[in-house]
């Protein structure tokens, strides 16, 4: 594995703009169009690909703490299948984080109905539309916090991030003591807080600042995300 920074000829401490500048310069140099008819055209093309790969790797490393390129939203390959982005690659991106916090015990207790168990299975295997169907057959009167939590996960899998946030909020407010629900909500809100801080540099005044990572436990869990890194593809600035 070659060091992507070496490929671009820059130091790992280079700023984002320096990375972009170096990338652009090398792209121009090795671009196939610039090397037509030259004796080392094949060499240049290989180098061109390397430069592009290195750039992509650096950008994803800097944003997601080791996130592989290709995860997240990806509408390119499939026409409509936005649901098959990052989440389908893992069995249950959420469970791997919260497993140690009483998840298993709660699941047995809460997923008593067939629909809820089916929905959980669908989410685990990346079948989010089916999960939403199963959840939809739970009568409105029986929709508990757990129902909203699972709905949020399924909506997230389909890139329905607005609806996911609403459900996560509902789950968290129905059972304020449940860390798992609070944590999901914090996760979904964490991107906004990074973005909001950046906005202040450009003169934006937020009406409401999300108050995330307020508890010590939440902070601890956020730090786990940094090392796990794969979940929301958000850098956890709260940990810095």
């Amino acid at each position: 594995m070659t060091d992507p920074y070496q490929v671009l000829g820059i130091s790992p401490t280079a700023s984002d703009d320096e990375v972009k500048k170096a990338y652009r310069q090398l792209c121009k140099k090795y671009h196939p169009d610039a090397n037509v008819g030259k004796p080392d055209a094949a060499q240049a093309e290989k180098k061109f690909m390397e430069v592009q790969q290195a750039y992509e790797e650096i950008m994803h490393m800097r944003q997601g703490g080791g996130t592989r390129p290709g995860s997240g939203y990806n509408g390119g390959a499939q026409q409509r299948g936005y649901g098959q982005g990052g989440y389908a690659q893992q069995d249950d991106p959420f469970e791997s984080f919260w497993g140690g916090y009483g998840y298993g015990q709660q699941r047995q207790e809460q997923d008593s109905s067939i629909e809820m168990r089916a929905a959980k299975n669908y989410i685990d295997t990346g079948h989010y539309a089916e999960a939403i169907n199963a959840l939809g057959s739970v009568p409105p009167g029986q929709r508990n916090a757990r129902w909203y939590y699972l709905s949020a996960l399924a909506q997230m899998g389909l890139h329905n991030n607005a609806q996911a946030m609403e459900y996560a909020r509902q789950a968290a407010s129905m059972e304020p003591g449940n860390m798992q629900y609070q944590q999901l909500l914090s996760q979904l809100q964490s991107g906004g807080s990074w973005y909001g801080e950046r906005g202040e540099q450009y003169g934006r005044q937020q009406f409401s600042r999300p108050n995330i990572c307020c508890s010590i436990l939440a902070l601890e869990l956020c730090c786990m995300c940094c090392s796990g890194g794969r979940m929301m593809y958000y850098p956890m600035f709260c940990c810095l």
Partner: protein, 274 residues
């Protein structure tokens, strides 16, 4: 989707305006004068983004125009601006026709007839983009007809359309451009919904936020939801190797894009206190 002017340097604002005027001129030349109604800040942003990404050869001229007859304005011109001019023709043609078919507004029909030729030419040149706009109009009708209360149902459609329009050519930047367009589109749709609440309520138009507007923390929740959209869009933007005019685009993405949301929120607050 515009700049927060007071935070821009003078030369940055001039540059932004040169894109705007350049796009206007390109639309006028390629699509005929009537098309200029279609000029939007969204397209100006896209023109600036694609210009920076591809570092397109750009020419600049100083001209007077019908809208600014006194002082000459700088106008930029390049392939990205022409691409956005064509997109403007397509989008506004379908938008006008939709207005006619939906509400039987004769003015919309007349305008769309004027645009017909230009939109056909642009659509023939950009079939993938035309198909995306057609699909959007079609599927949005279906969502509205079933009064879908999922917050993302209609927003995803706008996102998918814009994702398609953001791709000028197929290359390594396609994925990030799509992601940027997707979340920007979702933001734009839902921000429109937020802004148009009162009007949609009166006209009984489809608006997924209407059923939620009396929730206690409605404005805060909307801000957070929209913030999530923009955070995702901004992250895609930051992955692209864009250097030229990047600060102007960041002004829009991190701040200027919120102006309409802020105005609507402040307006409602003022109404409540009086």
């Amino acid at each position: 989707m515009t700049v927060r002017k007071e935070e821009l340097r003078f030369r940055e604002f001039d540059r932004y305006r040169a894109f705007y005027c350049g796009l206007c001129r390109s639309i006028g030349q390629r699509c005929g004068g009537v098309c200029r109604m279609a000029l939007s800040f969204e397209m100006t942003f896209l023109a600036m983004l694609l210009t920076a990404l591809y570092e397109s050869d750009t020419t600049q001229e100083l001209r007077r125009c019908a809208f600014h007859p006194v002082q000459k304005r700088a106008m930029l011109r390049n392939e990205a601006i022409d691409y956005c001019a064509d997109l403007s023709a397509i989008v506004s043609y379908y938008d006008l026709r939709d207005g006619w078919e939906d509400e039987r507004r004769v003015d919309r029909l007349a305008e769309s007839e004027l645009l017909h030729k230009a939109a056909r030419r642009a659509g023939d040149a950009l079939p993938r983009q035309r198909e995306a706009v057609e699909r959007y109009v079609r599927e949005l009708h279906a969502v509205e007809a079933r009064n879908d209360q999922n917050l993302d149902a209609a927003a995803n459609l706008t996102g998918e359309m814009l994702a398609e329009l953001y791709v000028m050519r197929s290359d390594v930047y396609e994925r990030d451009l799509r992601e940027l367009g997707y979340y920007l589109g979702k933001f734009i749709y839902l921000c429109d919904c937020y802004e148009d609440l009162e009007r949609d309520e009166k006209k009984k138009s489809y608006n997924p936020l209407l059923s939620r507007k009396d929730q206690p923390a409605f404005a805060e929740d909307c801000e957070q939801m929209l913030g999530d959209m923009m955070a995702r869009a901004a992250r895609a933007f930051e992955r692209l190797p864009v250097l030229q005019d990047a600060e102007i685009m960041r002004n829009i993405l991190y701040s200027g894009i919120w102006l309409r949301f802020e105005n609507a929120t402040n307006r409602r607050k003022a109404n409540r206190t009086t």
